[in-house]
Structure formats: C-alpha cells, structure tokens
Amino acid sequence: MSDNGTPHGEVVSHGGDDFGSDAVRLDQGHIEGSGGLPARFENPGLPPHVARMSDLSEKAAKRAEKQVATLFGIASLATIVFIIAYFTVDPEMTAFVPGIGEANPYNVILGVCLGLALLGCGMGAVHWAKTLMPDTEMVEERHPQRASDADRQRAVDNFLQEGGKSQIGRRPLIKFSLAGALALPPLALVLPLVGGLGPLPKDNLSKTIWKKGDRLVRDPELTPIKADQVTIGSVYHVLPANIKESHEVLEDKAKAAVLLMRLDPSIIKSKKEIDWGYDGIVAYSKICTHVGCPVGLYEQQTHHLLCPCHQSTFDVTEDCKVIFGPAKRPLPQLPIEVDSEGYLVARSGFHEAVGPSFWERG
C-alpha cells in the first residue's frame, strides 16, 4: 500500500462474521477492489480454539505428565548430587574436566548441578503449563473507571462550598504565605542533591600536574630517568615526579601518564617534535584522544602507537598524527629537556588538554 486511505486491492468485508473469507490474501497478488475501507472495522473475535494432543488423548496427557515429572526429577537429582559433592569432593583437587581442561572439579560439579536444578524446575513448570494446565482463551471485560456524574458533582460542590468556609479568599496573607510555604520546601530537597554532585570541575580537565622542571619518573618505581638510559627503541612508561605529593593519585595519574620513546632523530619528520624532544627522545601523552584509553602498544620497527580499545594508530615519526582509527587529534607532546644532573625534566606542562574531547575544550 503506497498511500493510506485509498482502496488498493484491499477488499474488506462490510460486517458480519465472514471477515476472513473475502479478504485478499497476500499470495493472490494485486487485485483492484470495488469496496473501499469500511467506516469501522468489526472485531474479528478470538481465533478458534485448537485442542492440544494432551486434551484429546489420555495417552498423550500421561506422556506429558511423565515428561514434567522427569524434568522435576532432574532438578531433585541435581540438588542431591550437589549436596553429595559439597561434602565429598576435595575443594583443592584439580583434575581434567572435558571442555575446560585442567580445572577444579569441585566448582564445576557444584555449578553444573545448581544450574541443572534451577533449569529442571523452570522447564518442568513451563512444560506443565503448556501441556496440561487449561489453555482455553478467556476474556475479562475492563470496567469503566469514570465515577458517576452525581459523585463528580458532589465533589465539586464540596470543594467550592466547604473551601469557602476556610476564608482563604478573604485573607490574602494566609493565601500568599501558604503558596510560599508549599513552593520553597522542595528546594531543601533539591539543594543537597545538586551540592552533592561535588565541586565544579574548573580547569581540571584541561590541566595535568605536569609543570616546568618536573622530573620524568618510571611508572611503578617513581625513579628519575637519565637521558643516556633511554636507548634507541626503548619505551618508558612515565609519570611526573610530583605524583608522590598528589592527594588524588589515580585521578592525576589518569591524566598525566606519559610514554617516553627514543627514535633515531633522522627519521623524525616533524621539526616541532624534534624541538620538544631531546636528541630523539620524545614524550607523548599516553591518553588516547578518542575516549581516553592508555595508548601503550608501541611498535618499535614501524614507530606506530596503537590504542588497544578502538585501534586508533598514531605515527610517532610524524608528531603522533592519527593514521588510522576513530581518534581525531594527535597525541599531545610534552616538551622535555635535561637538567644539570642529566635527568629528563619537563620543559613545561602540556600545551593543550590531554585525552578525549569535552564540551569546553579550547
């Protein structure tokens, strides 16, 4: 039917119980009708009741009964095995379990038995309901919810007459103070909810704890790194030294994590990357600009950085430009230099917000 409301081969009976008899069936193809849509469709009523095998033959009913009993029996049996296994199987034992390999049979037996017990109960109940419980269709009429007109009128009269006696119309002071008293208390409920959302984010999303002069330190040990320790092809997972003083270590770490790599300076194509690095040592934010996963998969030969979550790939020789995947911006670079003792330090913080995009990101 291409447009609604016009008769396009849809022949609909004009009442009576023969609704289905002269309606066009789908497999008859396109037939131009002569009738048109009726003003009102007739209720086709319930389809005829089809008796089940178990309704017709006592033998089938007996069989269904046995099937239900078997399912319930499986449930009981599984529970009994569960209880026996609970007391007899050594919880520390390992053995070969088919389909799993070398595993702990105690847990496997308990789990499988519990599963079978529940499944047996459920399947038995469903099979019982489907085969033996009555399945004749029933119609229960819905009662109207509207009250009688007399009741409705009485309610209105009550409100108007009795309400007038409270003198609310005559005493505006009460009227307005009541309005205020009803309108303001909900604020007392809403305020703690909004206040409980925590402090405003301020510039937390744009700033990391990296600042000028911070030493680059190895991730779990927090020891500083000398430039000559970073050989070509190396990868260091780096944090700022001041993470030690942080009060929110995980929050700060989640933004400040940095990947330090050393490449042969001759293969770096970006001048800015060389300038912000030190003799081929470059530091990039480890937080993916797509949704913030840690970009840690560095391929030493291709110099590609791969994000494990959505396969965004960054080319370290081209200032971590995105060469594949859903990320839209290159990874931010951390400018580094070497201090008087030969340790790598940050020349400044990140020049842009690290990690995924957010609404107010500049």
């Binding site: 070398e102 085969t131 991730d219």
Partner: protein, 261 residues
C-alpha cells in the same frame, strides 16, 4: 669389537662406564659453563664455528658479514642475547618470509650451535649478552611487584595474563605461556621484531626477574573451574555470551511463546 662385546658383562664394565660418563659430563660442563655465563669469554674456535653456521643458515637474508640485506636486518650490535632468543625459540631461521617470525616448538639447533652463532654475532659489535641465570630463574623474586611491572610495561600488548594480542597489519604480540625465563629476559633487553627495548636501566635485572616470576606464577595458576576462553578478557567473553548466551535465551523465548501441539 668382538673382544669388547664379549666383555660387556664383566663386573668392571659398569664401573668403567660410570667413570667414562663422569669424565664426559665434567669435560662437557667445563667447556660449556663459562660460555652461558657470559658471551664475551667465547673462544676463538667457537666464534669460527659460529661463523660457519651463520654462513650456512643465516647469511642468505642477513648478508655474508651480517650487514643486513633487503630480506633481513643488520645484526651488528644485536648481541648474543638476540641470537639466543631468536634461535632458541625457533623464530630464526625463518621458514618463510612473513609479517612476523612465529615461535616454533621444534628448535633445529642444539644449544652449543646457538651459543656458537651468538658468540660470532657478539664478536662483530658489542650488544646485550646472554643474561645471568641469577636473574632469569624467577626465584627469590617478588611476584606482586613483577605483576605490577608487567601490567605497566607489558600488559597492553601481551594481555594481563600474558595471553598475547593483536597489533597492526597482521603483527601480533605472542602469548607468554610456558616460556623459559631466559628467553623472556632476552626479549626484554633486545626488543625483537615489533617489541620495544626494555633495557636494564628501564627495568632493572631484579625487576625482570620479578616479571619472569609473575609469568611463571600465571603458568602454574590453577583453573578454578571455568572456561578461560583464552584469558583474552572482554572480547572473547563478550563474543561467547552474545552467541551462546543470547542464542539460548532466544531459543527459550521461542519455546515459551509457542503453543503445545
């Protein structure tokens, strides 16, 4: 020969045999032991032997002087550790050109031959030596610290349980189950194939030993009774539950909604 055969049941034969065995073992140990400790003490004859093996097995791709060709990289400065890792795990010589050399269970060279080639390569230019067993056994190590180091430095490619994972364009990080500690250490110091280098300044030898201890602990870890699905994390588990979990639920929904015959 006949005389020897005739006296094979002589009471002294057993004693003689044991003595012979002890001599062979002792001589063999004294010859081999210093070599595994440090590649720099390789004898000239070992280097010569290694060069022969190199020319026969490796030079096609790596060049007659190990200078590298289009088919294989230069081996100057890769060190004995790289040779021991690549040949000891069967990755080299490669059976066929491929994106990545796979680990092969059947290593076609004896440890002596591998040591000889390692000595030859190490004689070309200084590089990482074969690590001392003190740091590759995974004993006297801090497994918890090793696990932390592993999660920070290795887990993004090799998976938290060392099950391995995919990289770009057909490359992959291999799984780390049942790998000798020595090879794990050597892979970290030399950075084979796509893997970056984790030299001893980055992760100390003690730290590497901790990582080895962690991986060995994972190898020995008992399955508490569930299908691990390769320990690959959410991908394989998600796939399993989407296919089988949802499939079973749909089958039950169809069964529930159907009238009995």
């Amino acid at each position: 020969m006949n005389a020897l055969a005739a006296r094979r049941r002589h009471p002294a034969a057993i004693a003689l045999l044991i003595l012979l065995g002890l001599v062979v073992t002792g001589v063999g140990y004294s010859v081999l032991a210093p070599k595994t400790a440090s590649a720099t003490t390789a004898s000239a004859s070992q280097v010569e032997e290694g060069k022969k093996l190199f020319l026969a097995n490796c030079a096609t791709c790596h060049g007659l002087q190990a200078q590298g060709t289009k088919a294989g990289p230069s081996l100057a400065g890769v060190g004995a550790a790289a040779v021991d890792f690549q040949m000891g795990t069967g990755r080299m010589p490669m059976a066929a050109p491929a994106v990545q050399a796979p680990r092969v269970n059947e290593v076609r060279f004896t440890q002596e031959q591998i040591d000889a080639v390692a000595a030859y390569i190490a004689s070309l230019a200084p590089g990482p030596a074969i690590p001392s067993p003190e740091y590759t056994s995974g004993e006297n190590a801090n497994v918890a610290l090793g696990a932390e180091l592993f999660r920070v430095n290795c887990a993004m490619c090799h998976n938290f349980a060392g099950s391995g994972g995919a990289l770009t364009r057909g490359k992959y990080a291999p799984n780390l189950r049942d790998i000798e500690g020595k090879h794990i250490y050597e892979a970290m110091v030399t950075g084979p194939q796509s893997m970056p280098v984790f030299n001893d300044d980055n992760i100390s030898p003690e730290g590497k030993n901790d990582i080895i201890a962690y991986l060995h602990a994972v190898d020995k870890q008992e399955n508490r009774g569930g299908m691990a699905l390769g320990n690959l994390g959410p991908v394989s588990e998600g796939l399993f539950i989407w296919v089988f979990g949802l499939g079973i639920m749909i089958a039950f929904a169809v069964w529930l909604g159907r009238k009995a015959a």
